[in-house]
């Protein structure tokens, strides 16, 4: 695309080239519309993939860009899911404000926990995120008068979007809604990644020792991105609540935290679309394999993960971009 000699003469245009929408991206969003016409019976799956992809992006912002490895992000997904469910039980079923409410709630908790998160690193960081995730899960289980406990929250009633679009059995509304929110999420995440702030996050990931030596208050940066990421995860959780009208403890589970990291690494970290691709491949593979072999499908998923790592150590997108030649 851009060559070195051009850039050397004009740093501005080189940087603009870095953040420009690529053909790959545009093609991706066009393809994302195809299920409406070609796979209408897969729309509910597509909707849940879009939701998972949004969740993966929220994790990519902290893990891929800021280098915070988390095994507890389902905490925010689940908090958003419960917030969105509980607000409908309180009598307000409007979905868009519900999303905002859930995002804000998850962001608040994200901000509070970020004070702990930015003070530890490495294994301790991973384990503290895991511990906080489990604590949230146990808390939700203990507060069954509010959350419905292990049976899940009952009586979630979401109004039609704009008072018009009902969530139908085929999933037309669900997928449209999830896809639009995912798109907005990607636009927002892109904007963050390609800002000065995004650059500082990459700095943190690349070399934490250097950051204070260039005068960076990097802990504030990390707290900020952790909060933003929590908000995004909360929105994803809220989407799941609204499109399925269910909430369960499973949204907070370690399994969900681990799965999302697996999908992200599978697709490739630090690339935004890596999480999306990972979510698509993982969930489509799971759907197809478990359809063929409901009892042992995860054997094949396991093999897939191992094979990908041996062949493409930077995830699928990393591998593809290396194949396609050098681009950063």
């Amino acid at each position: 695309m851009t060559t070195v000699s051009q850039a050397a003469t004009d740093p501005h245009s080189w940087l603009r080239g870095q953040s420009r929408w690529s053909y790959f991206e545009i093609a991706f969003w066009v393809i994302a519309l195809l299920p409406f016409y070609f796979f209408p019976t897969y729309l509910t799956l597509a909707s849940q993939i879009a939701i998972t992809a949004l969740f993966a992006i929220s994790v990519d912002l902290v893990l891929g860009y800021a280098g915070i490895i988390t095994l507890g992000h389902a905490m925010f997904f689940g908090l958003g899911a419960y917030a969105a469910g509980l607000i409908t039980k309180a009598g307000w079923g409007e979905p868009l404000t519900g999303l905002v409410f859930a995002g804000a709630f998850a962001a608040l908790i994200g901000f509070l926990t970020s004070f702990i998160i930015v003070r530890v690193r490495h294994l301790a960081l991973i384990m503290i995120t895991l511990g906080l995730g489990f604590l949230t899960l146990e808390l939700a289980n203990a507060m069954s008068w509010l959350t419905g406990g292990a049976d899940g929250l009952r009586g979630v009633d979401v109004w039609p979007i704009f008072g018009w679009f009902e969530f139908d059995l085929w999933g037309y509304t669900a997928y449209s809604y999830s896809l639009i929110v995912l798109f907005l999420g990607v636009v927002a995440a892109r904007r963050i990644v390609h800002s000065a702030f995004g650059l500082s996050l990459r700095g943190v990931r690349e070399n934490l020792t250097r950051m204070p030596a260039i005068g960076s208050p990097y802990r504030f940066h990390l707290q900020k991105i952790y909060t933003i990421s929590a908000a995004l995860a909360g929105v994803a959780g809220a989407l799941l609540t609204q499109t399925t009208e269910t909430v369960s403890l499973e949204t907070l589970s370690f399994q969900r935290s681990a799965d999302i990291v697996v999908m992200l690494i599978l697709g490739g970290t630090g690339r935004l679309y890596g999480g999306i691709i990972g979510a698509i491949i993982f969930m489509v593979a799971r759907d197809q394999l478990s359809g063929m072999n409901p009892q042992y499908w995860y054997f094949w998923i396991g093999l897939l993960l191992m094979a990908v790592i041996l062949v493409m150590p930077n995830g699928i997108l990393g591998g593809l971009s290396r194949l396609a030649g050098r681009r950063s």
């Binding site: 209408p40 019976t41 406990g149 059995l169 403890l249 589970s253 399994q255 409901p294 499908w297």
Partner: protein, 390 residues
């Protein structure tokens, strides 16, 4: 994959699957085939499989086709999506399975919207059948076996008890039902503890029970590894019958748990709707056929739920003469009664919930093998919560 795309295309263009529905009845089975609850799903599936094997795959001139879907665990969102896909993609006529309550709650709306019969073959929270008029349950509810058990416990001469239940929905339900039955009859609950759902070691809780020194302890924990663990912990602390009576729901003394607990299990009294060892020709035949089909593995509550669920589907189809509309099938199911390997059972026409005999069993040694021996039966028990304002 290609085939699926073709099917998807065909359906997308409105050639939806009514055409061949005249020949086959498709039943979508939604259970956790994988994950921590995989055993429940697989046992339930084996029950379904055995019924089809014994009764053929043709009913009312139609072929029965099972489509299996894995939820991976108690995820209502996944269960709902699978139900939606089964309806719109696979064109199923009946939804079935549902080992876990969240699965059933997730799919209930789909049954209502799509007007399909939904046979709940396990999920044991009372409220499940109230979530859709198309739901029929062939398993059990927790209050159904524990409320009468509470009464029975008092009548058996126990005046005070301690409850120890897993800290989640079913555990709380069990605790409440038992305590209600027990206290209504005149007993007193002198202490109650909740154990974490995935608790590996019970010694601390058992030690607490011991400190309270009750006449009896009532226990509810999920099946799997925990029954044996708690049984051993009780024995280690000397909490054994007859000094301290041990009450529980049937999972506590499932065959693997008995094998692992050994004689420590002797004297434990449990309440259940299905007893493996119940000496009855129907049951003996069922158990034998089940073991033969499953490498010697014994049937459990999931197996019988699936087995009877299939019975209900077959009989309903016979009655509707192959009409698979949800309304017709639900009508046919209401009031249906039959002799199951578990004993006589029926479907309450009001609540569409199961009505059956509750068995009180005690672990005894018979011919050198530990068994749950039925010591009392309470016939025709309905779920005590339906109709009662929660």
């Amino acid at each position: 994959m290609v085939k699926k795309i073709v099917v998807a295309l065909a359906m997308g263009f409105g050639l939806a699957g009514g055409a061949n529905a005249q020949e086959t009845v498709k039943i979508g089975v939604i259970v956790p085939y994988s994950g921590p609850f995989a055993d429940a799903g697989n046992q339930l599936d084996a029950g379904i499989e055995l019924y089809i094997q014994q009764h053929g795959d043709e009913v009312a001139g139609k072929k029965i086709e099972i489509i299996r879907k894995d939820t991976g665990g108690p995820s209502p969102d996944v269960a709902k999506r699978l139900a939606q896909e089964l309806v719109v993609r696979d064109g199923v006529d009946i939804l079935a399975g549902f080992a876990l309550t969240p699965e059933a709650l997730g799919a209930a709306d789909v049954a209502t919207q799509a007007e399909k019969l939904m046979v709940v073959m396990n999920a044991a929270t009372s409220v499940v059948t109230e979530m859709s008029p198309y739901i029929v349950r062939t398993s059990v509810t927790i209050p159904q076996v524990n409320y009468p058990f509470g009464k029975w416990a008092y009548e058996s001469g126990v005046t005070q008890a301690y409850t120890l239940v897993a800290d989640y929905g079913p555990g709380h339900d069990a605790e409440q039902s038992f305590a209600r039955g027990f206290t209504e009859a005149g007993g007193e609950i002198i202490g109650a503890d909740n154990t974490p759902v995935a608790n590996p070691d019970f010694s601390a809780y058992v030690q607490r029970v011991r400190g309270a020194d009750p006449e009896a302890v009532y226990i509810f924990i999920p099946g799997g590894a925990q029954p044996a663990a708690i049984g051993k912990a009780l024995a280690e602390r000397g909490l054994t019958p007859p000094d301290t009576k041990i009450f529980g729901q049937g999972e506590l003394t499932h065959p693997e748990a008995l094998e692992s607990m050994g004689e420590n299990a002797l004297g434990i009294i449990t309440t259940f709707h299905y007893t493996l060892e119940r000496d009855d020709p129907l049951n003996n035949e069922f158990v034998e056929a089940y073991r033969e089909a499953n490498d010697g593995r014994s049937p459990d509550l999931f197996s019988i739920g699936g087995y009877d669920g299939m019975h209900l589907i077959y009989e309903a189809l016979k009655e509707t003469e192959g009409d698979t509309s949800g309304d017709a099938l639900v009508e046919a199911a209401k009031g249906m009664s039959w002799d199951s390997p578990r004993g006589p059972m029926s479907i309450d026409p009001e609540t569409r919930d199961v009505v059956q005999t509750v068995y009180i069993r005690e672990v005894q040694e018979v011919d050198g093998v530990l068994q749950n021996v039925i010591i009392d039966e309470i016939p025709n028990v309905k779920d005590p919560l339906h109709g009662a304002d929660e």
